[in-house]
Symmetry: C2
DNA sequence: CCGGTTTTGTCATCCGAATGACAAGGCTCG
DNA sequence: CGAGCCTTGTCATTCGGATGACAAAACCGG
């Protein structure tokens, strides 16, 4: 049973879910094994130790993220195109809430000595987007700052969400929250790069 | 020795530092004891178990935060006063980086079963600020959204910071990063609430 | 001032549980 | 068979928590 029909995939799926929800320290290999419906040792057999598991999860998440962003970047032709790019990224984070959650946890735990994730992955990604943006935006705009603002907001709203009046939390999985978020980020970016307010 | 001359304070200081840096799961009572220069049991004697330690840390952090915000709210008389309020909060987060870091970890459901922190602490705080803001801001402005945006950005830049071109990280402890952040948030808030762009 | 008692602060130590990791063996299907 | 897949079993380590012992200080009746 379970054969090899994507055992590794199932393991990574479970690990992604758990790392995103509980962080690296809050997740044990046994939890991951149980969530994947496999034995603890089987997980090690397919992926390796806990650290390998984590790296594999982060790399897979990053690959998806890079795919979305590089596709979107390729279609940026003017400043307005940046709003579409932002839209794509928001969509991606709403559809895959694990990604912002994984990164959020990561930003806060320098403990994990997997520094190459930042250096080799997020920095190039950031530069790719920044380069595309600089071409279509007036000089003097602090492009990197705008990007970081969008990143922090999107990751924040996406993983932490908003504490509603009745004490419940809403993230970007909530369609109404998503719409509100999108409209506001569009306006935020538009004014930051000197575009007219998008009435949506 | 060390008597009771603020042993509890020293413990809470160490715990705050560690919880902020490593999160709840990443911190052990033994680390805290060592960082405070005390025995594990002594920590338990003064504060209690790990959970009590965490709650005490969060409550102390929240008290400071509320103090700053309620002082600032009391001086808001017009829309421009909100920019001052934001400034105060940014200053606070820059001076006490543990606070945004603690909350950041918390949003990602660090020690999830201490829900009263959100319900009894952050929600009232949020409502206090929102109420003050609504009085001086045009109707139709999504005040709570603006607040959440500022919170996420400030906590994000404050605890996670920004990944610089050379791979180093800069948070709000870096004066230049702080200035850049402040200017941009001021503008962000100003445009969101229909104020002229503050040239600062 | 004083002897004895209580309270307070600290420590070394132990316990049950959980964790990450690994060795060795057993499936099962081509 | 035998290689890929999975399990059982075990190990050292670490965790949070609790206990009992001890010293110093505070307290108190005389």
């Amino acid at each position: 049973m379970t054969s090899s029909d994507g055992a590794r995939e199932r393991i990574l799926d479970a690990a992604t879910r758990l790392f995103a929800a509980l962080g690296y320290d809050g997740t044990s290999t046994r939890m991951i094994a149980e969530a994947a419906g496999l034995n603890v040792a089987t997980v090690a057999y397919h992926v390796g130790g806990k650290r390998d598991l984590y790296v594999a999860v982060m790399e897979r998440a990053h690959t998806a993220e890079r795919q979305v962003l590089s596709d979107a970047v390729a279609q940026v032709e003017d400043a307005g195109g940046l709003l579409t790019l932002v839209d794509r990224y928001i969509d991606f984070c709403a559809e895959h809430p694990e990604v912002p959650a994984l990164w959020m946890h990561r930003w806060l735990s320098d403990a994990a000595d997997v520094a190459h994730l930042e250096e080799h992955y997020v920095r190039p990604l950031l530069e790719m987007v920044a380069a595309a943006a600089r071409k279509v935006v007036p000089d003097g705009v602090d492009v990197e700052y705008v990007i970081w603002t969008v990143v922090w907001c999107t990751h924040g709203f996406g993983s932490g969400g908003v504490l509603d009046a009745d004490g419940t939390r809403h993230g970007l999985d909530d369609p109404r929250e998503l719409a509100r978020f999108r409209a506001n980020v569009r306006r935020l970016v538009a004014t930051a790069i000197g575009l007219p307010d998008p009435a949506a």
